[in-house]
Amino acid sequence: MTGSILRLAAIRLLVVLLCTAMLAPIAIVVIASFSGDGYLKFPPDSLSLRWYLRFLGDPRWLAALWNSFLVAAMTCLLATALGFLAAYAMARGHFSFRRAITALLLMPLIVPHVVTAIAMYFLSARLGLIGVRPWIAVAHSVVALPVVLVILQSALKTVDPNLERAAMIFGCTRAGVFRRVVLPLALPGLVSAMLFSFLTSFDELVISLFLAGIRAETLPVRIWNSLLLEVEPTIAAVSALLIGVTCLALLAEWAVRQARERSATATR
């Protein structure tokens, strides 16, 4: 009896330790970003907002933030739109090479990003598209597409095809069915897809590193360039900002799911 209690306690302790180890690095960066010291040190001797102020006062960091935001917003729209159409086709159509198509669509997750990035650089340099933000968004959409597809395919599984049939019997056109039945029912999945494709682009480094040039430096590229020189505390502030964006996106996704569950129980 005491043996099993001890074992249970040991397992609990191990899990608490592992969970702490998972979150600690992220917490440490956030705490270090509020340091008042002149160089990076943990725990900081004093607290201040000086590294945030330095970030906000530096036009190059601000330009990088704006570039990241623009590229991520464009990626999120493009990847979600293409991904939604493809996921719908996969859910309702019968493809003879289904497995091959799925493997192809998921391939950008598997192929090392360095290979993808160099190939895109090879193409973009010839087309004169290095440093063009919409083009970087198109390139990011390649790696965001598999993420969007996985989310939307499972979201569309919950949409009953009979609802679409019913709407068509009552005189709705195909486009009408899409707009009035499929879109509203798949909306929570669409929101998740948009959030995660935004994050994928906002956090992407390797492709941006090759395609951004000097003109369209994104936040991760700017972090990379400064990390190669020195580990300065401004990076901690920028990292804390990126962590904040991630947490916000995860929170929004959770809220959407909660709202849907609540409305599902209400209609029942």
Binding site: S4, L18, P25, P43, L85, G93, V111, W224
Partner: protein, 280 residues
């Protein structure tokens, strides 16, 4: 509502076109044109033999496989108990463990790497604790060497393993464990004879996916490694960025792609089979 032939292809065409134009074609074109710089097929073959036989590149291939293997084993050792806890936890405990896995998972790789640089550096947290407790006379070298690379990559890849294993563990019917217990098996026997065999396909799937991703790693080893920890992806990047040596980069890309796709094919086969197994 089934889609007609034309409609389904029209809907999937934009996504396929994007991948064809920006993914498949550029990779093929870059490799073909870079190799064409070398001349005829026999000249390409000679250069390939010379490049792949060179010490730097053989070293990188060995490093890459060694690091990927170590990281996979570390991730498995840490991920298994964590996934087990996740699959058994309920309510608040479940949410807390999930948060601890998901927040790092969706945080930028460069931010996670930077976090470990802060922790492992000469003035970092670990060295301060070691010095403060008198366990070390001088700061330990934890960064810019193999130790740093392994720690950083293990942290970055851990969530992939946990989420894969969690799915496998969730599918285990708890009544099987109860039945084994009821028939007198101790906790260790239940684990070794029932739970472990039932989750083994998850272990294989998780290990394969982590190994595949580790093979192509670039950011973490580039920032946390030392001169002796050059991995294939880093070497490819350097050939382009520093020496503009496209043919060598293309040859190395072929090697990296071949290993990756081969393992992915094994993974896909394997994932299919376990799915069919469940359906039965």
């Amino acid at each position: 509502m089934p889609l007609r032939h034309f409609a389904k292809w029209a809907l999937i065409a934009p996504a396929l076109a994007l991948l064809l134009l920006l993914f498949i074609t550029p990779i093929g074109w870059f490799i073909a044109e870079s190799l064409a710089e070398l001349g005829s097929a026999s000249e390409v073959w000679l250069e390939a033999k010379a490049v792949l036989g060179s010490r730097a590149i053989l070293g990188a291939i060995l490093n890459t496989n060694g690091i990927a293997l170590t990281v996979t084993l570390m991730v498995l050792a840490i991920g298994y108990p964590l996934s087990y806890a996740l699959s058994r936890a309920r309510g608040l405990a479940f949410s807390l463990v999930l948060i601890c896995v998901v927040i790092p998972y969706f945080t930028s790789v460069i931010v996670r790497t930077y976090a470990w640089m802060v922790i492992l550096g000469r003035n970092g947290l670990i060295n301060q604790v070691l010095l403060g407790l008198g366990l070390a006379r001088e700061p330990a070298d934890l960064l810019y060497n193999r130790t740093g690379v392994i720690i950083g990559m293990t942290y970055v890849l851990l969530p992939y393993m946990v989420l894969t294993l969690y799915a496998a563990m969730k599918a285990v019917d708890p009544r099987l464990l109860q039945a084994a217990e009821g028939m007198g098996a101790g906790p260790l026997t239940v684990f070794a004879k029932v739970f472990l065999p039932l989750t083994l396909h998850g272990v294989t799937a998780g290990a394969l996916i982590v190994f595949i991703l580790a093979l192509g790693f670039f950011i973490t080893p580039a920032l946390m490694g030392g001169p002796g920890d050059v991995m294939m992806a880093m070497l490819i990047e350097r050939e382009i960025e520093l020496s503009q040596n496209w043919p060598v980069a293309a040859l190395m890309t072929i090697v990296l792609l071949a290993i990756t796709l081969l393992l992915y094919a094994v993974y896909a086969r394997f994932a299919d089979r376990t799915e069919e197994g469940f359906a039965r």
